[in-house]
Assembly symmetry: C2
Homo-oligomer: 223 residues x 2
Amino acid sequence: MTHRAVAIVSGGVDSVTLAYLLRSEGFDLHLISFDYGQRHRKEVEYARRCAARLEASFDVVDLTSLRTLLRGSALTDDVEVPHGHYAAENMAVTVVPNRNAIMLGVAYAAAAAEGADVVAAGMHSGDHFIYPDCRPRFIEAFEAMERLSLEGAASPFPKLYTPFLHSFKRDIVVQGARLGVPFEDTWSCYEGRELHCGRCGTCVERREAFALAGVPDPTRYLE
Amino acid sequence: MTHRAVAIVSGGVDSVTLAYLLRSEGFDLHLISFDYGQRHRKEVEYARRCAARLEASFDVVDLTSLRTLLRGSALTDDVEVPHGHYAAENMAVTVVPNRNAIMLGVAYAAAAAEGADVVAAGMHSGDHFIYPDCRPRFIEAFEAMERLSLEGAASPFPKLYTPFLHSFKRDIVVQGARLGVPFEDTWSCYEGRELHCGRCGTCVERREAFALAGVPDPTRYLE
């Protein structure tokens, strides 16, 4: 019997590797991307191409009307994206409050509607110290909430599957290389220009992960 | 010191009474309505007028791109709205899975962004047996999840305020009458025609609540 997964895919290294992992595990796939007015919304096209390669269903959920509700975040506002390494001090401005709760809630609605077995998301250990909604405790609490929200309304109950929750990004790169992920067709940079800027937190993290993994980095960086 | 509340308001009896209650308790108000492609989206205009009367901020969040994800619900699809009294058997088709989790998640994002003290919603006891996401256990689990989601990202943490959770709809009508709620300017009917149909589950429930409350029902019903 085939199992079905609804996966949140941004088009970056982590979520594209997640999609390849799910496919290798035999899941039928429905990939969902979100347009929340992020500066780097070109990432959505990388998610779309990932879905096409994996013959997965694909939807972009338009959450741009949340923009006026989400003032004060560099990812959606005209605040400058901070440069340098990810660290609580300089990246807090990139937090869209409650973003994962909203995206997972939408993914669960889809999973319930189509009888999926799993909702999958790609958060990892490197996210924990800056994003409170990437921590194992949050993931557990979210799944517990969904069990109550969907009781009697979704059968089977879709489990929340976060296979990278206790991995570092370098481990994801190693796994992606094994799975044949075309890393050159993933997007990380928060700036959303033609090439990866090479300087924002997510570019620095991306570069470092390839170096630590010992996997050639096919990314073209601006500097 | 003034406190601020972000409240989910659909334009019906319960949520409009909720807004009047919050105002009477001295809260600064931000009312949020949702357009999720519901057949009865005219309710949004009732919410907008409620906000204008109470001098509250008001936003409509466009979730219509969720439509393709939410197949199989009579509120959003071309399934006929069932008539008769609310009961698990014939109203299950009106359940949009995970709707409250999504709407509350969006309200929490707004509350975090603007430093609100409270997120308020109007679910009541009559909702419990048909909507799993209106039960006290769900509400508790949702707030616990949000505490983790927003840790360090929202100060103060906005409490989840559901003052009608243990009330019946007739109690809400009694309270609304005391607060001077203009019930004629609220909308319940799922059919969204010019007048309340008088036959769908929510019309039957509305009529009954006024009768049980001993409050004159100003609603004009089609039949």
